[in-house]
């Protein structure tokens, strides 16, 4: 009898209430979700010449680059943009043409620009880069990052994998004082899209009088 009494254990309910814990977890998650940024911001690398040698550098580059390898962009107010393909003709304001930002604007202008050799370097380089990217992203690709960067560097100089050499374009970006920062970034972005390595951000205040007169005549503002 006594033995029976001892064996009679009280059955405890071992279920723990998790609701408060869930509440707390919810709060913590909410806190983390509100305080964090999942998407890290991107950055655009920009290297400017130092102020002392800016003038010299421009002179040098003007001598090296052929006229038809140059495009000048003028960034104006209200997201307007103008370009001059080749050298400016100071007596003919119609050489300054209006275009727009984006795919059907600057990108198209650069893409369709034909140099004196009769080639469209930007379009050719872009095509070659697409092939390179495809090679890199192919699932059995053994291309390392260094190899990719090296190939890209060559490409931007105009050395196509087929052995053909196309001239590399030079772009002079001249944001007017009425432009905004977004315009400048948009123009730099176009350089990135069109794989143009040689570009200069020029100061309009230091422009020659001829240039100033030309853009005024052409209605660039």
């Amino acid at each position: 009898m006594a033995k029976k009494n001892l064996s009679k254990q009280k059955k405890m309910d071992t279920r723990v209430n998790f609701t408060p814990m869930v509440d707390m977890m919810m709060l913590l998650i909410t806190f983390f979700m509100l305080c964090t940024t999942l998407a890290k911001p991107q950055a655009m690398q920009l290297t400017m010449p130092s102020n002392e040698d800016t003038n010299q550098l421009n002179e040098e580059q003007k001598q090296v680059t052929k006229a038809s390898h140059t495009i000048t962009l003028y960034l104006g107010a209200n997201d307007q943009v103008w370009y001059i393909a080749g050298l400016p003709k100071y007596d003919d304001p119609s050489c300054v043409k209006k275009t727009s930002y984006g795919k059907d604007g600057i990108e198209k202008v650069l893409n369709e620009h034909t140099t004196e050799e009769g080639v469209n370097p930007v379009a050719k380089i872009k095509l070659a880069k697409k092939e390179l990217d495809a090679q890199k992203n192919a699932h059995n690709s053994k291309m390392t990052d260094e190899q990719y960067q090296e190939a890209l560097k060559k490409l931007k100089k105009g050395e196509l994998p087929s052995g053909e050499k196309v001239p590399a374009m030079t772009v002079i970006i001249r944001p007017l004082n009425t432009a905004t920062y977004a315009n400048m970034v948009a123009a730099l972005d176009e350089m990135l899209i069109s794989n143009i390595d040689k570009y200069v951000i020029d100061n309009v205040d230091k422009m020659s009088e001829d240039d100033k007169a030309l853009i005024e005549k052409a209605g660039v503002k």
Partner: protein, 205 residues
């Protein structure tokens, strides 16, 4: 009168799976998160297709608002302290312990040296309000460096590996950013990173 017997059901829900999921989510957020750095003024960066990530360390953030106000700061508080010491020495400003503490807690410098002590004595809420009307002066002092340039060179002295990241609002007039970049170029700081948001639509085109 017959009583209707309502059967009492046990409405215990097992919360264990839910708590499991929550823990997983919590772990995910804790591991992937980088905390938002508080900025005195909220700034909308323009879009670009550049996919370069900015490094997490050794970055001097330069913030430019649409009005052209300039702020700067770095995430390393010891560097900030070194910058402050260098600047107070140079300009002959003395700060008490409370003001230095307030400076360390603040994310970015925005007050000019003449207003710094007064600004740092304010309450925390007032500081957040006041800094929106301040900004580092870009005017050169007696033909020499401007206060902004002094801060940048103090940051360079405190950490020689520091990189400059410019976060500028897309509506900022180009003249403001031109002045800023020209000041940086004057002191041979020619490499910047412009902080942008990824333009996915353009990237896929």
């Amino acid at each position: 009168m017959a009583k209707i017997k309502i059967q009492k059901k046990d409405i215990w829900i097992d919360m264990t799976p839910m708590s499991d999921v929550m823990t997983l989510l919590l772990c995910f957020f804790m591991l992937t998160s980088t905390f938002l750095t508080p900025e005195p003024v909220s700034v909308n960066a323009p879009n670009s297709v550049s996919e370069v990530k900015i490094p997490e360390q050794d970055v001097l953030n330069i913030l430019v608002t649409p009005e052209g106000r300039v702020y700067c700061g770095t995430e390393n508080k010891n560097n900030m302290q070194a910058m402050l010491d260098a600047m107070t020495d140079k300009f002959g400003v003395t700060l008490n312990a409370n003001q230095v503490k307030a400076f360390r807690e603040d994310a970015m410098v925005g007050a000019s040296m003449s207003q710094l002590a007064q600004y740092l004595s304010l309450d925390q809420e007032k500081m957040a309000e006041a800094i929106q009307k301040l900004g580092l002066p870009l005017d050169s002092i007696n033909g020499g460096k401007s206060e902004f340039q002094e801060w940048v060179s103090a940051a360079r002295d405190a950490n020689p590996d520091i990189r400059l990241a410019i976060k500028c609002d897309s509506k900022t007039p180009y003249t403001a950013i031109k002045k800023l970049m020209s000041e940086l170029q004057d002191m041979n700081e020619n490499r910047f990173q412009l902080i942008t948001n990824l333009d996915v639509k353009r990237l896929n085109d």
